[in-house]
C-alpha cells in the first residue's frame, strides 16, 4: 500500500501520480509516481534521453503533461501554472545571467521580473552579499567573475523571490572541487531553511550530496530512495556502480 496516497498531496513540494508525457508516439515520461518533501534535496539522475528534462519542464510548468496528476507546492499544474511559476526558481548549467551587468544589477533585474519592489530588492541584495560572501564584488561585472562566482550569483538570482522550490540543472559542471563544496554548503543551508532543492546531474559524486535520488531510464523511474539505501539494496559500493547496474540492465 502506498502510504503517500493516504496523506494529502498538498503537504508535498512535488506530488506526481501516473504522470505521462508523450510527443506523438514517443513516450518521454511513462507513468511516473514520486513525491518530494518540503526542504528535501532530491536528485534526478539518468542518461541523455532518460526523460529528466521533460520531467523538469512539467514540474516548472513549461510543458503540460499528457495525463496524470502533478502538484507543485500543492498547486495543480493544469490549472495553476502561473502561481507555480512564482513559487519556484530555476538555475541552468548555462547560468542565465547578464554578463554585461554587475552582480547587483543582475539581482535588481531579476528581482524586478518577479515583481519585487526596490526595498525588497535591496534587502535581498544584502541577504545575498552576506550569505554568499559577495561583499566588495556587488559592483563587479559578471563577465569578469570566475566560474565558481558566476555559479553563486546564478543561485542567488534563482532564489531572489524566495521560492519554495529551486531547480538546479547540472549546477556544478567544471568547477574546482573546493569551490564545489562551498556551493553545496550554500545549498544545504537553503535546505535547512526549508527550501526544497531538485537537482539533475550526470555526475555521481554530485548525486551523493542528495538526500534522496531518483534514477530514470527511457522514461521510467528505475529506482528511488536514499543513496546509501539504494547502494545496499543493489549490493554496490559506489554511486557509479549503482547507476550502471540499474541503467545497463
Amino acid at each position: 500500500m502506498d502510504i503517500a496516497t493516504t496523506i494529502e498531496p498538498q503537504k508535498y513540494a512535488i506530488y506526481a501520480r501516473k504522470l505521462v508525457k508523450k510527443f506523438g508516439n514517443f513516450i518521454a515520461d511513462d507513468n511516473l509516481n514520486f513525491e518530494v518533501h518540503p526542504g528535501e534535496i532530491f536528485g534526478l539522475l539518468g542518461a541523455n534521453g532518460a526523460g529528466k528534462t521533460t520531467a523538469i519542464k512539467m514540474m516548472t510548468g513549461l510543458l503540460k503533461p499528457t495525463s496524470g496528476i502533478l502538484k507543485v507546492n500543492g498547486y495543480d499544474i493544469y490549472s495553476e501554472s502561473e502561481i507555480i511559476r512564482k513559487s519556484i526558481g530555476y538555475m541552468s548549467q548555462k547560468f542565465s545571467l547578464y554578463e554585461e551587468l554587475t552582480i547587483y544589477e543582475n539581482i535588481r533585474f531579476f528581482g524586478g521580473i518577479y515583481g519585487l519592489n526596490l526595498k525588497s530588492i535591496k534587502s535581498r541584495a544584502e541577504w545575498a552579499e552576506h550569505t554568499f560572501s559577495l561583499s566588495g564584488f556587488m559592483d563587479k561585472r559578471v563577465s569578469n567573475l570566475p566560474l565558481g562566482w558566476k555559479q553563486k550569483v546564478a543561485f542567488v538570482v534563482a532564489s531572489i523571490h524566495n521560492p519554495a522550490i529551486i531547480f538546479l540543472d547540472e549546477p556544478t559542471g567544471g568547477v574546482d572541487p573546493s569551490v564545489r563544496r562551498n556551493f553545496w554548503d550554500n545549498i544545504y543551508q537553503a535546505s535547512i531553511n526549508g527550501t526544497t532543492i531538485i537537482v539533475t546531474t550526470h555526475y555521481m559524486d554530485e548525486a551523493e550530496y542528495c538526500q534522496r535520488i531518483c534514477i530514470m531510464d527511457q522514461g521510467i523511474i528505475k529506482a528511488i530512495g536514499k543513496p546509501n539505501e539504494l547502494k545496499n539494496k543493489f549490493l554496490v559500493n559506489t554511486m557509479n556502480e549503482l547507476f550502471i547496474k540499474i541503467v545497463r540492465n
Partner: protein, 297 residues
C-alpha cells in the same frame, strides 16, 4: 620511452598568467591525464601542443619534432578534438568524415578499422547533418574525425564534459583500445574520478602543475589517516570536528565527511563524544589528494 617533452612553457593573455613555467613529459603509448578545474590552463596547454598558439617562453618536442620549427610535420601526426567539437554543422555525418580524411590525404577505408567501434554507432545517421546530432553522437563523430588519419599523438580537450555516465565509461574503454594500437594520448578533464583511468596524470591549477605521477603513486603518498564520518547532520558534524581536531583537513563528500589527520582510529574514537555517529577508516580518493595538494600551494 619519452614521446612528448614540455619544457618551461609560459603563456599569458594580457595580464592573466594562463601557464607558468610548465614542464613534464609523456611516455610512448601512455594515456596522460590533465586534471584540473575550469580556468586552470588545460585548454591553453593543449592548444600550444597542437601548434595552434605559440608559448611566450619555453618549447615542446613531439616525437622528437620541435614545436616551433617543425610544426608542419607535427600537424600531420597529431589528432585533436577540441572542447567544442570542430564539426561542420551543415555537412552530414559522412561528409564531415570524408572532409577530414581528404584534408589529411587518406581514404576512409584505410583506417576504418580504427574508428569502426565508434563510427558504426553513428552510421545509421550518416545522412543526418552534424548540427542535428545529440551531444553524445557529436562526440563520437568528432573523435572519428580526429582519428581518421591514424595520428600518433591524440589530444582530447574535455571529451566527456556533459556526457552521461554510461557513454563516459564506453569512451574510456575506447581510449584504451587506441592505446593498444600504439597511440599516445593526452586527455583533459575536470572530473577527478576519470583520473584513475590514466597511466599518469598532472594536476593543474591556476596555470601551474601541482604534481605529475601515476594515480597509485598519488594515492599512496597521501600522508594522513583518513576517516569517513557519517551522521544525520553533516553540517554540524563538520563544525564539531573542526573544533576537536583543529589541524585536521575536513571536507564534505556527499552525505558524509572525510577527516584527514595523524590521529589513529582509537584516538579519534576517544576524542569524539557525540552519539549516532559512524566513523570508518578508509583509503583516500583521488579527490582527497587533489584537495590536499591544491591546499599545499
Amino acid at each position: 620511452m619519452e614521446a612528448i617533452r614540455v619544457n618551461n612553457i609560459t603563456k599569458s593573455y594580457e595580464n592573466i598568467n594562463a601557464l607558468s613555467n610548465v614542464s613534464f613529459s609523456i611516455n610512448q603509448t601512455e594515456i596522460f591525464g590533465l586534471i584540473g578545474p575550469d580556468g586552470a590552463g588545460k585548454t591553453t596547454l593543449i592548444r600550444i601542443l597542437t601548434s595552434l598558439i605559440l608559448p611566450d617562453e619555453g618549447n615542446a618536442y613531439i616525437l622528437n619534432l620541435d614545436l616551433k620549427k617543425d610544426y608542419k610535420q607535427i600537424r600531420k601526426i597529431i589528432g585533436y578534438m577540441p572542447q567544442r567539437f570542430s564539426l561542420y554543422m551543415d555537412l552530414s555525418v559522412e561528409e564531415n568524415l570524408q572532409f577530414y580524411a581528404e584534408i589529411f590525404g587518406v581514404s576512409i577505408k584505410d583506417n576504418y578499422y580504427l574508428i569502426e567501434p565508434i563510427y558504426k554507432q553513428i552510421e545509421p545517421y550518416k545522412e543526418r547533418k552534424a548540427g542535428k546530432l545529440s551531444g553524445g553522437m557529436k562526440q563520437k563523430l568528432a573523435l572519428s574525425c580526429a582519428l581518421i588519419h591514424r595520428p600518433k599523438f591524440l589530444l582530447l580537450d574535455e571529451p566527456t564534459t556533459g556526457v552521461d555516465a554510461i557513454s563516459r565509461i564506453e569512451f574510456w574503454e575506447m581510449l584504451k583500445n587506441y592505446q593498444n594500437e600504439g597511440i599516445t594520448i593526452l586527455v583533459s578533464t575536470p572530473y577527478m574520478d576519470e583520473a584513475l583511468q590514466c597511466n599518469r596524470l598532472a594536476f593543474i591549477k591556476e596555470g601551474k602543475i601541482l604534481t605529475v605521477a601515476s594515480p597509485s603513486e598519488i594515492l599512496n603518498n597521501y600522508p594522513f589517516n583518513i576517516y569517513d564520518i557519517k551522521n544525520e547532520n553533516t553540517y554540524q558534524t563538520i563544525e564539531y570536528f573542526k573544533k576537536i581536531i583543529p589541524d585536521a583537513i575536513i571536507n564534505r563528500f556527499g552525505q558524509s565527511l572525510h577527516c584527514s589527520t595523524q590521529l589513529s582510529f582509537d584516538e579519534i574514537i576517544q576524542a569524539t563524544d557525540i552519539n549516532n555517529i559512524l566513523i570508518e577508516k578508509i583509503e583516500p580518493t583521488i579527490e582527497d589528494c587533489f584537495l590536499w595538494i591544491s591546499q599545499q600551494q
